[in-house]
Amino acid sequence: MRVSLRKPHIAGITVLKPIEHQGNRWPKRQARMFAATQEIFRAQQYLRKWVGKAAPQAGSNDSPSSRGALGSPKKEGTTSPTSAEAQSRWDNDQEEESPRTLLRRKVIRGELRELRSEFTDTLDLSIHVATWNVNGRRPPDGLELDELLDVENPADIYVVGFQEIVPLNANSVLIGDMGEAAARWEALIHETLVAYPADKESGGMEAQKNADEKLRGQEPGGDLPEGGPDSEAADDAQRGDDERGVENEEKKGGGAKAGAEISRGEDGRGNDAAERSSGGLPNGGSETGGTESAVGTGPEADGTSVDSTDLIETLEADWHADASAKEKLDRVEGERDLRAANGATRRYVQVASKQMVGVHVCVWVRKEIRKHVRSVQTSAVGVGLLGVLGNKGSVSVSLLLHESTLCFVCSHLTSGDAEGDESRRSGDVSEITRRTYFTRSLAEQQQNLPATIGEHDQRIWLGDLNYRIALPDEEVREAVKKQDWETLVESDQLRLEQNAKQVFVDWQEGKIDFAPTYKYCPGTDRYVGTDPIAEGEKRRTPAWCDRVLWKGDYLTQLKYGRAELRTGDHRPVKARFATKADVIVPEKLEALLAKLRAKADADEMNSRPVCSLSPQIVHLGDIRYGVPTPPQPLQIHNNGAVRAEFAFVDVGGSGPPCPPWLTVTPLKGEVAAGEVLEVSVSARVDSASVDVEAVIERENALEGILVLRVHGGGDHFVSVTGNYLPSSWGLRLTKLAAFSEPVRGLTRVDLGRVGDNDGEVKNAVTGQVSKEVAMGQTVPKEVIRLLDHLMQPEQAGGADSMATKDGDAAKGRSPENGEEAEDPEAAQAAVRESLDTGADFPPGTSGRTALAALFSFLAALPEPLLSKSILTAIEADFATAKREAVVLVEQGLVPSHYGMYELLMTSFAELLNRGAEKGLSSQALASELADVIFGRSGVKEDKRRKQRVQFVKQLLDDRTNL
């Protein structure tokens, strides 16, 4: 395909295209809009498929517990889950991740983003948020999360954040936790979410309990570790490590097989969750879940992260060694699924899980909305030791729910009640806000999926923010006793910092109507430090360390409170939100797309040039042979908004843009918007451009259609008409000779009636006799008049002119007759007019003019005087032809041309004889004559012309020598 499509194409389709590469005619914005709508067009066709598609398979592998069976691909020898593997598993329930859907989403979240409200409705949803600093403990036996998760009032989305999910010792900070603790907590959450309100006495539940016991088999007796690690000071870490060391010893003794089984099972889950969180990304940001809990994240993790592949392999080996354990687990899971299928439980699906050292967040959604959760991504930011380690920091989850983006930030901020610690905490928040980054694929970027916290529609920040109450210990304890929360809130560091615009500007927090959540003596309802003498504890002023804040138009807090779980030194805090998600309404989207299409069409139409022409018919009036008509104006009005390019084009697509008898100037050009351009149209008829007889057949009506193509704006037809004044020029000799009146009066009827006897002569007679007979009939009176004029003695100037240099004769350069010399064309036209009307020649008409007219007449004959067969003979064998010139001509002459030929040659011979003494040469005459008696073919080729001239000279010489 040519690059240039400007030339109108017959196919027509390309007409639209030039606009694209002519930016000046197609405003950039419109071009963009057009491109966007093109995308929309494409996306649109995917829509139905997408909307009409059955819900993705709600397979059992959605359940976190079954995801523990991740072993299958590993059994085949894979070491760690590859990103491809993760991708394929993700795709199982994200079937819509096809290029089409992607494109559609790009359009919806991209070009159509600002119009979202036009094609979405909102769906009411509830989010339950829980945050708990578990003080490095694992879930003790019998712990129930029902109260924390408010399961009697199920939410659509659960976001559970933990801090100190592992003890913050040097080991966990620097090497990382294998996700074991998190897996236990998640298992408990899952159980809580799926179990309620199942009949706890059912057999199914029993199987569950058995399985759960198995899962917890190695828990150190369910006892709370004494004096749990104090996470608040880094120098406590060593102590904590020592304590854990004891625990680890216990674990080893408790049955390596079971431990391995559990580790594997849970590790698999942890991995899976991490894969899910990065599943939208082909290159999966992180390959392993548990190991991401190393230190920091991203660039900060360089050099400090630990490759846990070896560990995983070890665990796998153990796992494979105990296939029977896996079978048991499978059976348990099968029962869970069965119960789910029986509708005995609600089903929740974990969609994200992320841990960094002690900070952990996991997100669960109701199975029904699982398929509407996409592009889940996590991010971890360490702001602890050295400003990067993970003992403090955040883990965040970003997800797209229907068309709304949600962000959950779970953080554990700098502790301490020393002066200035609150500023460090606020600094942590801004650092986390600054450094939290959700890696997005190109496709996701094109969907405007958020990469930072601030870009999300709805944001919830939860965690142990560690803000204290800025009042003396005694006052706090006194107020606590009186449950005077208002007084305490007034001095709450977070509120003070917020009021000072130091942190969480424009974020909201619900009314605090519960007791400070920190710091309790584990297992009791007693704040630490209540009885310092008896307990010897460090004094810790009670504080609301654990908080939930939010920012987002769609978020409304319904409940804000705490759960009385006494496992660690913090009480968990919970918040229930009502929210909304924008949900695409296919009908509305269709309607919007239709509207946009219509707009795109309208824009396109409006950006096309619109022109009109006046007049639509151009009348040229009377047209004489060989005389150009005065030009008539044709106006192109550009009525549109853009510049119009126009060109006259041929009807057939490839020929000249207008009939040969018309002259249109200019043939192409441009008209600026609102302007008018005048094109001139004139006609000049001669036998080369028009079949004159055909015109007379049409009752002298000359008509042509000009097609004016405005690029991108359609075609306009212009009729051009004229009235031909019949002339002797361009008619066949038979016709002309048979009509005795002046030709101007020749009508269609006459033309049909007269002069068709040429054939008869040919058929009836043979040889010379017939030619003699035909002679008198075939010499038109006009020729005789011209020759008469030429032969008059006083017109010897005609002969004179022939004596001049070759080619000058017809040009009338001789200045002898001043009146006439100004315009030989005009003089000739005057002579022609006299002949056609029967009038006398204009006075002073020179022989030269008469001769030029004669040559012009001969040139205009539709059939050349000497037939083509003669010309062929000359060109085939010039020597022979020249030698036998006379014979050749007499044999080759058309009968009706014989008389004319004889008369011409006789007259010219006489002229030559008369003018000999004046230097008139047969060469000069032959030169003129040769150009007009063989027709137009090859006249301009020197060699062919030379042969003709010599041949004609031979003819003349034969005559003059006689």
Binding site: I13, M605, G714
Partner: protein, 202 residues
């Protein structure tokens, strides 16, 4: 030709043919702009309009050439139907002569030899039932005999106007020929077919 664009959308050249005054321009104007004028100026030329419709998962962008109906411009018609993917031949149900002319157009289109050309025969001015000269059955049976899609329309009342274009849009993808291997199609028609490589608007 219907030209597949990126993503499987089509661009289709559509030409309207029919006797002067049958209502070609009115049909197009109704379809494209939803307008109707009792006095519609006679088309001297070929108006070019575009309109996009979506049917059955496919978006079809019509590039419509609304031609002049006057007999004197008949010789120019091939320029417009050549390379077209679809044609709507329009007649006026109150005018027998226009039906005859419509049949001539159909013959001419069939002679021009694009077997994939989708031809619709539209009996327009269906609102003028009292002046009807061409019975529905006549149009229908002629269409049946010639494998055309037939429908009676009224640009004035908008009756069946969109339907004509949508029905064509539905038929186009089926009619569109499979892409030919390069180098085989060297006839005149092949040369005039736009290639999509550089026409693509994406």
């Amino acid at each position: 030709m219907a030209t597949p664009g990126a993503g499987g959308n089509l661009q289709a050249k559509l030409v309207l043919l029919g006797d002067m005054g049958a209502g070609k321009s009115s049909l197009v104007l109704r379809f494209v702009k939803g307008q109707f004028f009792d006095y519609q100026e006679s088309t001297i030329g070929a108006a070019f309009l575009t309109q996009t419709v979506a049917v059955n998962d496919v978006t079809v962008k019509f590039e419509i050439w609304d031609t002049a109906g006057q007999e004197r411009y008949h010789s120019l018609a091939p320029m417009y139907y050549r390379g077209a993917a679809a044609a709507i031949v329009v007649y006026d149900i109150t005018n027998t002569e226009s039906f005859t002319r419509a049949k001539n157009w159909v013959r001419e289109l069939q002679r021009q030899g694009n077997p994939n050309l989708v031809i619709a025969l539209a009996g327009n001015k269906a609102d003028l039932a009292s002046k009807r000269k061409v019975e529905t059955e006549e149009g229908q049976s002629y269409a049946d005999e010639n494998g055309l899609f037939f429908i009676e329309t009224s640009a004035k009342s908008a009756q069946n106007v969109n339907e004509v274009f949508y029905e064509i849009a539905r038929k186009l993808p089926k009619a569109a020929p499979a892409p030919q291997p390069q180098g085989l199609n060297l006839n005149a028609q092949g040369r005039t077919q736009p290639k999509r490589s550089c026409c693509s608007t994406s």
